[in-house]
Symmetry: C2
Subunit: 235 residues, 2 copies
Amino acid sequence: MQKQSLLYEGKAKKIYQTDDKQVYWVEYLDQATALNGLKKDSITGKGTLNNQITSAIFQELRKNKIESHFVEMISKTEQLIEAVTMFPLEVVVRNITAGSFAKRFGKEEGALLAFPVIEFYYKNDVLDDPMMNEDHIKVLEIATERQILEIKQQALQVNTALLALFAKADIRLVDFKLEFGQRADGTILLADEISPDTCRLWDATTNEHLDKDIYRRDLGDLIPVYKEVLARLTK
Amino acid sequence: MQKQSLLYEGKAKKIYQTDDKQVYWVEYLDQATALNGLKKDSITGKGTLNNQITSAIFQELRKNKIESHFVEMISKTEQLIEAVTMFPLEVVVRNITAGSFAKRFGKEEGALLAFPVIEFYYKNDVLDDPMMNEDHIKVLEIATERQILEIKQQALQVNTALLALFAKADIRLVDFKLEFGQRADGTILLADEISPDTCRLWDATTNEHLDKDIYRRDLGDLIPVYKEVLARLTK
C-alpha cells in the first residue's frame, strides 16, 4: 500500500489517497482545537492516543456487528480506512445533558435524558456548523428521508454498543458525535473517529471529565486523561 | 362578556381573562419589536391593523375548514379568542429562502424551496427562542410525537390555504410563524395571530417587503404597508 496525494486536512487529521482507490490513509495529528478552530494548540502524543483509541473502538464495534470504514491500524499515528463519500453532517447522540444542549435549553449538566436525543449539524466551518433539522437536510439535498432514517438507526445502535463498552471501563458516555459516509453502492457506513475528541466521557464514580472538555474548559493536561481512557478500554 | 384580569402581556398584545372561562379577551397594541425585544417602538395604528388582518385571515381559514382560537373581533383593537393552553413553540413554515434560514445555511434570499420546510423554536425569551428538533420537543416534554405530527399537519394545511389567500392578493407568502394551543379535551388548535408581524410577505410583482421586515431592516414606514396588506386581503 502506497500513501499518495493529500485528500483532506481536518483539524486533527490528514487523509491521503493510496494506490488502492477503495482505501484512504489517515494520519492522526498532535493538534487540539476548540470553539470551531478559534482555540488551537499542538499537544504531543494526542495523535497517537486518538489513533489507538479510535482503532480499539472500531474493532470493538465490529465484534458487535457494527461495521465502519476502519480497515487497520498501520502505525501509532496512522490507520487505513475504506474510501467513502462523506455526508457533510455531524450526528450528535446525547444520553445525559451537557454542553450545547444544556446551554441551549437552560438545563443543568448531568441529567439523564429519557431517551437518546439525536441532533444534526451541517458540517461547514464558514457557517460555524449550524444545527439543522430533517427538513433542512432533505431540502438542501444533503441526504434523503431514507438515508436520514438509516443514519439515525445506525447512530442509536452505535450508542447502545458504546454505552456497554464504556460502562465496562467505568465511564459514563454523556454524548458523542458521529459522521457517516456512503460506499459507491449506496451503503451507509460509520466513518470518521470515535475518541475523547468526539465523545463526552465522565468517570462513572467521580464524574470527572475524561475527554476534550479538559482542553475546551482549561481543566488541565489532556494527555494523561486520554492515556487513562485508552488504558481502561484495553485493560 | 366582561374583561377581567390580565393573563399575559406579550410584545404586541395583552390577553385578559373574561367572565367566561372558555374565552380570552385580546388587545392588540401599537408596539413593534425586533431582535427578540432589543429594538422596540410604539407605532400608532399598528394594533388596529394587525387585529383586523388577523381577524380577516382566521375568518378566511375557517371558510377553508381550518379551525382556530378566533371567536370574533369586538373592536378595532380587540378580539375574543377561545381559551387554550399554549404549547411554548413557534412553528415556522418556509416556502422561499429568507431571513434566518438564508443566514444559517449561507443561501441567497428568494429561492423557492422544493417543499415547505417546517422549523420549531422553543418560545423562551431568556434563551432567545432557540431552534429545536423533534427529539428536543419530546425529551423536554413540550409535546408528544403524536402532537408534533398533528401540529406539522395543521401547519402545512394552513400554509396551503394561506398561499392561495395571499396569491389572490398578489402577495408571495415567503415564510410565517404559527403557534398552537390545546383545548381541555386535548384537541390541538391554531392560535396566536397571523399578520405582517408573523409572516414574511413580498409583493408578487416587485418583491417589495409587505411585512415587519420594513421595521426590522429600517426600510420605511410600516403603517402604509400594513394598510396595503389589509386592503388587498379584503378587496
